[in-house]
Structure formats: C-alpha cells, structure tokens
Symmetry: C2
Subunit: 405 residues, 2 copies
C-alpha cells in the first residue's frame, strides 16, 4: 500500500463535470490499494471572480481580509469533490487549511508554511478515508486564515507529501508531463520520463510553466518524488526526482525559451569600484528584478554595463538609467525589448566538456548572433534577437538530438 498525494489545478476542477472526472481518477487510485490525499485549487476563474468583487470595493485589496476572501475558492472545490467522491461510494472528507492545521507565518497573501499537523491526516487515512485538502491556504498562529500566494496549491501538496512521507506527489495539470522543449515550437519535442529537481528548477524558472519553482524547491529539500501528469488523459507523466535515482543521465534535458525579458546597457561608464551597485541600487529600490548581468571592460578605462529585466519593467528601468547616467559619466544608454533568452539545461553538462562550444557553433551555423551569455553548473543561457526565437530553439533541440531521448 502506497501513500499518494494528488494535486489538481484550477482547469482540472473547472466545473462540476470535471470535478466528477477527478473523483473517478481518485477512486481508481484508492481502489488500486493506495491511501490517497487530494489537494485542489479553486475552480478556474473563481479567484478572478473574487478579486473582481474586491476590486469594486477597493483598488488594491490586500492583507488579512483578502485571504479570508480568496480562501473560499478552494473551500468550494473541496466540498464539491468530497460530494462527488461520496456519490461514487468513496469515503471522503474535506479539510480547509486551518482545519488540518497547515500553520504558516503571518505574511498575509504570501505566507510560508511552517508546520503541518500530520496526526489529523494520518487518523483520517487510517479510517480508510480519502482526505481532500484545500490548497493555497493555511492558518497563522493567531488563528487568521492565510494564503500562500502564487503556486500555493502545488506547495501545499508537496508540503503534505513531505510531512506524511508520501511515496509520491502527483501534480495533475493540463499537459501530460515535462517536455524537452515547448511542443508548439518544436513538434519533435519529447516528454521526459525523469528529470532531476535541479533541472526542473532551471526549466521552471526559464519559462516552462508546468510547475511552480517554490514547490520544486520544497520537493528537492525533502526529497519528495514529484510527478507531473495530465488530468485529461492517462499516461506515466514525468517524474522529478534526485539525480541518484536517474541511472542513465541524458546529456541535456531540455531547451527553454523566455521572451519576457528586455535588455538595458549603459555604455562607457568610467570603470571604478562600485559601478555595478550604483547602477543596480536604484533599480532594486524600484522593485525591479534583474536577471542577467554583464560587465565588459573596454580598452579606454571605461566599461559597458548590460543587464536584463522583465519586459513589463523595461520603461521604468530605462527612465532610471536616464536619470543616473550623467551622474555616472556614462557615454550613452541603450535599450532593447525585443530579445529572447534561449537556454539548454542538463545535469550531464557537469561531466561533459564542450557543450557550450557545440551550442555556440550550432547557433553561428544559422547566423544567429549571441548578445549575452550566462552559465550555471547545469545550464547555459544566451540572449539573441527575438526574431531568432523559434529557429534558435529548434536548432539546439536538433543539435543535441533531444528528440531521441
């Protein structure tokens, strides 16, 4: 008998019909002899509906009362799913985050889980019940309802799997696994059977929107076996696990594309200590997150300083640079919001040399000019002109024969 945590997102429980379909999937897992805990999100559209109501009352609703409001979304789903399970003759019982004592810190709207009282869940499981838990929510130490912010339900599922030492945490979504790259860009893209936590983190943060980074981080920390599956069709999905559980490591796991960034450059800044922080300080103060950073020393004792931000922050970042450029004695500033970041990800890089040069050569072969490069232990990212997005991804996917597995 295994203990399985299943998590269904908003589109999987979008209406009563889909909830009934989820109930059948849960029943099958239970009938196969497993103990099952189900974590659900709000029905698709429900959170937006609630936010819309709050917006009519106050422009930027937040704080304690926003969590009281939003947490009703998941509460509706747990009740409906429990009713659907009972209709199938499956013993089921719903729990809100506060009821099952998912204790969080006090940060409303973006709380972090501190503890889960596994006793309550264990005794419900011992009573042969399917335990249906509202994702995305918890309770702080003074008894207030809190919500976990973006990706909260995935995080709830992983946290429960960790607390109960579940055998597997299955994340049901609208895709049937993690792919070597976006199949809409590259029809030959292949579903991965397995991928390491580290690779998944790089893939997630680079634009593959299957799983929330936060949940993968938590799974990695507590070594929770995480599986991404489709709630609409059967299949093995993709298992996200530790490197030691993957016998034959592929050279690369995937190619990702991120078109959400923009690039800013300050040219000819006199090269003296503290230049980077003088430039990036005001950017950080404006709550703009910086991704890639590049500093090139020129021959004339000046330096060119380049960085990328989210495209939504481009205009504000440009105006900040304009404001500070004369103080810094910069020659000019440049901006480009039509760039793309293409990355290759794989733990195999650690043991194989020459991956980077193979990547650069393949791109050069297609006359794709590389504007920036950044590397980590298991990934290499390049910034190119946006118009080369698809070509670049296809070229690299083919170069590293990712379609072959």
């Amino acid at each position: 008998m295994s203990l399985i945590v299943q998590k269904y997102g908003g589109t999987s429980v979008a209406d009563p019909e889909r909830i009934a379909a989820v109930a059948e999937r849960v029943r099958d897992c239970k009938s196969a002899g497993n103990q099952v805990i189900v974590v659900v999100s709000a029905m698709a559209g429900e959170t937006d509906r609630l936010l819309g109501l709050a917006n009519e009352i106050v422009k930027l609703p937040r704080g304690r009362e926003l969590d009281v409001l939003l947490s009703t979304g998941e509460q509706v789903t747990i009740a409906l799913l429990s009713l659907a399970l009972q209709r199938l003759g499956v013993k089921a019982r719903s729990y809100t985050g506060p009821q099952i004592r998912i204790t969080t810190d006090a940060a409303y709207n973006k709380a972090r889980i501190v503890d889960i009282e596994s006793d309550r869940i264990s005794s419900a499981l011992a009573a042969e019940e399917v335990v249906v838990v509202a994702g995305f929510q918890g309770v702080n130490e003074i008894g207030d309802i809190t919500t976990l912010g973006r990706g909260g339900s995935d995080t709830t599922a992983v946290a429960i799997a960790a607390a109960l030492a579940a055998d597997e945490c299955q994340i049901y979504t609208d895709v049937d696994g993690v792919y070597t790259t976006d199949p809409r860009l590259v029809p030959e893209a292949r579903r991965l059977d397995k991928i390491t936590y580290e690779e998944m983190l790089e893939m997630a943060s680079l634009g593959a929107k299957v799983l929330q980074i936060r949940a993968v981080e938590l799974a990695s920390k507590y070594l929770v076996a995480l599986r991404v599956l489709s709630s609409f069709e059967d299949g093995p999905g993709t298992l996200i696990t530790s490197e030691e559980n993957i016998m034959e490591k592929a050279l690369l796991s995937g190619v990702t594309l991120n078109r959400d960034e923009a690039k800013l450059t300050m040219l000819g800044v006199p090269d003296r200590p503290g230049v980077a922080s003088t430039i990036l300080g005001p950017v950080a103060e404006a709550n703009i997150e910086v991704d890639m950073i590049l500093q090139n020393m020129g021959a004339d004792g000046t330096t060119d300083f380049t960085f990328t931000v989210h495209r939504n922050d481009f205009d504000m970042a440009m105006s900040i640079l304009e404001r500070i450029s004369s103080d810094l004695g910069a020659r000019a500033i440049e901006g480009d919001n039509r760039i793309a970041k293409i990355s290759i990800v794989g733990v195999g890089m650690r043991s194989h040399a020459g991956i980077a040069s193979r990547m650069f050569a393949a791109l050069a072969n297609e006359s794709i000019n590389i504007q920036m490069i950044s590397t980590s232990e298991i990934k290499i990212s390049v910034v190119v002109d946006e118009k080369y997005s698809e070509l670049g991804v296809r070229t690299l996917h083919s170069e590293f024969q990712l379609e072959q597995g």
Copy 2:
C-alpha cells in the same frame, strides 16, 4: 456607549455597491460612539449558485460537505464588508463562525448554537474594532463547519447579542418594520413602533415574513431588544421587546393572512376513543405537519374530523385519508385547497373580552362564512373561502381601527 449588533441580509449585501452602502451605515453607528458587531448573510443569489454547483454533482446534497460549501457564501461577504469598512478608515476585522467559536451541536445543515466564546469578540471590541461575523455558521465539537439552516443569520445575530448582552440587535432587511398587516393588501396598514415577542412569534408563524421565528424565540428567551429596520432608508423601524417594556398596549397588533393551507375532512367517523390518533398517525408518519384540528360530534354517534395542512401536502394527505377511511368506517372524505386563514393578534386580548364576537360579527356583516376557528391566548384564527382573503383582512383591519395606532 452602547453595544449594537447589526444584521444585514442577502439583499442588503447583494453586490459590492450595496456592501459599500452597508459599510457607511456601520461607520455612522460606530462614529455615534457605539461598539458595533455586524453579522452578514451571503450575497443574494450566492447560496443558490453554490447549491446549483452541488446539484450538478449529486441530486440531494447534504451532510458535512454541504456545510463546507455553503459557509463560503457568508465568508465572502465578511471579507468584502471588512475591506469596505477599512476603505472608509474604520478598523474592522472579519470572523467566520468557527473562528469566533460559535459552537453548535453536530446536526449538519440545521445545527443549533450551543455556545459563543464572547471573550474573543470582547477583546476585538476593546481594540476599537468593528467585528464582522459570518452569519448562519458555526463549528461543532470535532472542528467541523456547521450551518444553522433557515433563518440562520438572524439567529447568529440574536445569539451574539445575547452572549455579549448587547443593548440592541438590529435586523436590517428590505422593509422598514413590522406592519399591522400586509400593506399590499391594505394601503392603510401602519408600521408598528413596538410589538411584543409573543405577538411577533404569532405574526411570523402566521405569514409575516420579516423575521425568522427561531431568532424571535431566542430573543424572547434572552430578552434581547430586537429591532427590524430597512437597510435602504432611514427610520426607527419596529422594536420587538417584552410586554413590560410597552407601556400602552394596543388592543391588537395586526391582522395576518395565510394562503398556504388546505383543509381535509373525514365525515361520519364512528366516535370512539383514539379516532384522532388513528387519522393523524399516518399523516404524521408521512412527515406532513398539521396546523388546525377540529372535531365535531354529530347527533348520530358519529363525528366529523377536520384538519389543515400545507397546500403542498394536500394531495398526499388526501390519498392517506382515502387509504384509511374504509378501515375507520367513515362515510366520506372531503378536501378543499382553496381556503385562507385570517388571524388577529394582540396581547390586549388577554384583558379585553368580546374581541372574538366583534371579529365574527364584522366578517358576518360582509357575508363571509367562517369554516373553522382556532384560538390561543393572544390570537384568533378563522378559515374562510380563499376568495374572501383580501376582503376579510381589510374588514378586520378597519373594524379594529389598526390604521390609527
């Protein structure tokens, strides 16, 4: 400084605009130097929307999970109202039934309040906060969410007023008070300034739909000063209080009309002990509630047995009588579902003789035939042909000069 409990029903909080209007009313009460607890219902239509979702999953949703589902309705309202109050600069904090420890028995869908932990509310009030409480819901001793069933939010408000010894419990609704009769029937109908609990109970159970009987009973038990007011216009409303708080008792408080009943008669039943229970036993077993009962002994040693039921139960009650009539040796059965019950209500009856004969004479004067009569200490009801409904009510309203106060 007074402690006021205000309760707003579904139509008063039907949309964000109305919730904002309620917030202004609450702010004004607070600004006038009062401590304020607000109890709210789900936004009009929300409970039906939730039931609709559940109905798509299972035909007759009930039990524990139905309460988990329905309780979200009020939770949405408390969050929105608290946000609206905060926007007006009023310190406010929402509480669900479980959070404020409204403890109930274990009867899901129709729980009864056992206890309220007044400490939590008191300390919030001491912190100068408006306390916004979700009506209709509580928590049982094993931590499950329960709902109070029909009239639940009124009951929550009165229970909190009782537990906190509030100075007044104000029920805001879409009418501006309790009237001597339905103003749609009698344009001269007058709003009552005061009415006793007992009169209100008779009025409520006889068809005046302003307040739930259950809430009035609770107010009467704990002597909570209850006031019915309009949430759409200003005015003093109607105060429901003890008889000793009403100096000048009017002879009568009102005339009520109930068109929801039907009458059944079993004719010529041999008069022997146990006839009544032989007839009403099977009716009760079918879960049909009986209102008026009349038994007339005939000259020939037989009896005619007449009773009234809700019109929805008429057909089933008739078929029960048909089934048992031959066993009882009855001569015939008769049914009439086109009747109306008209009642006069007033504590003044206790001290004034001749009210009944004045009532019967006034009706006779208009050639209205009386089919049945039933009396209690403070009311007299008659059953007449449905076609005399309006005429009967107007005749009695005028006979007892109720328009004059």
